[in-house]
């Protein structure tokens, strides 16, 4: 896996006066749609996150293992491994099994939501039904709940 293919951060769109609610939190977002990735990158940059982006399962697992993000936002329909496969692989790897995962997909059927929960996702959000602000506040909430158990 060539590391240079992996986009980290989004300095070109960093805001002048960001609201630093998620400052320095490492967020990995797994999404194959380029436009959605760009929008979320801009938003996370505004929030002061250290942002990692993966387009598929291999990249996602590589980054998860090497950079150990604080939280992972995971799409489900991806080329190659599905989000569910990625979730299983994360849970099976002791080094990264504890990283909270929010499934962020447009699959929102009951069985999809239940499967996400079964595989250990903390939340399943349907993209089209949540504003970026909602997503950021869900991320902040999950990180806050997680905070007492982390060493950072």
């Amino acid at each position: 896996m060539p590391a240079e293919n992996i986009k980290t951060g989004s300095p070109e769109i960093t805001a002048a006066a960001p609201v630093l609610r998620l400052t320095n939190q490492k967020v990995l977002w797994v999404e194959d749609d380029p436009f959605l990735s760009t929008i979320l990158a801009a938003k996370l940059a505004h929030e002061g996150c250290v942002y990692f982006h993966a387009k598929n399962g291999e990249e996602a697992l590589y980054i998860a293992e090497h950079d150990v993000p604080d939280i992972i936002l995971l799409d489900l329909l991806l080329p190659g491994m599905t989000g569910f496969d990625i979730l299983k692989a994360i849970r099976a790897n002791a080094r990264i099994a504890q990283i909270p995962v929010i499934v962020l997909s447009n699959l929102g059927q009951k069985e999809d939501v239940e499967k996400s929960k079964e595989l250990g996702a903390v939340k399943h959000l349907v993209k089209a039904e949540h504003d970026l602000d909602d997503i950021i506040s869900e991320v902040a909430k999950v990180l806050k709940d997680k905070a007492p158990t982390t060493t950072a």
Partner: protein
Amino acid sequence: MSAVDLPDTEVSSFTVDQMKANFVSVAAHQLRTSLAATKWTLNMLLNGDLGSLNDEQRAFLSKAYESNARMIALLADILLSDQIDAGKLKSSGIAVNLPDLIDSVLVEIRLLGNMHHISIDFVQSGAAIPPVHIDPQQMRAVLQNLLENAVKYSNPHDMVQVSIEHRPDYVAIVVKDQGIGIPSEQQKDIFNRFFRASNAIQVEAEGFGLGLCIVKNIVEQNRGTISFTSTENEGSTFRVELPTSSVV
């Protein structure tokens, strides 16, 4: 089956219905991706994340945002409708505190109410309401639908009232409006899919007539009943009764 299983499943084993169900699910996924991109972009623009806006720009973008939100809601209705059609609507009942659920739905509905100059009153009797065994997400959709209808089909400065009644065997949620009502000769059709009352079409051109059909199916799936009374130009009252026993 989960829609994610589609690409690597043997196509030959699909029945036509399964293929149709997956088609709708996959098509909805693609449409939602595009709708989400628009929603998020407009959200950032309206937040001023990409620079400040003048009032006219903001007004136009708000209209675009609303239009996008309507399309997203319609798509959700189509998906639910499709599940009902395929007999795939399942409820996962848990003990739910109805006043809390109503409160959380009202957060969004009050915003809609403000836009239409409709005030929404939640009347609580004060007596404790026992939890009901229902699927909270599905019942949220029911409440959203009934309350949105009540707001949309009211006249400016009307009042919408939500109340909860506790009876020995059931809890009733009552949504009452002072709006346009349903013409008496059309009342028998309102739970039919794609039906829209003639006066409703005049007030709100958009809409596919899916909402109340979905509402009825969900309520019945959750072992409840729905009924209504309505008088044209005076208003409608919808009543959802949900059993308090947890026996499924």
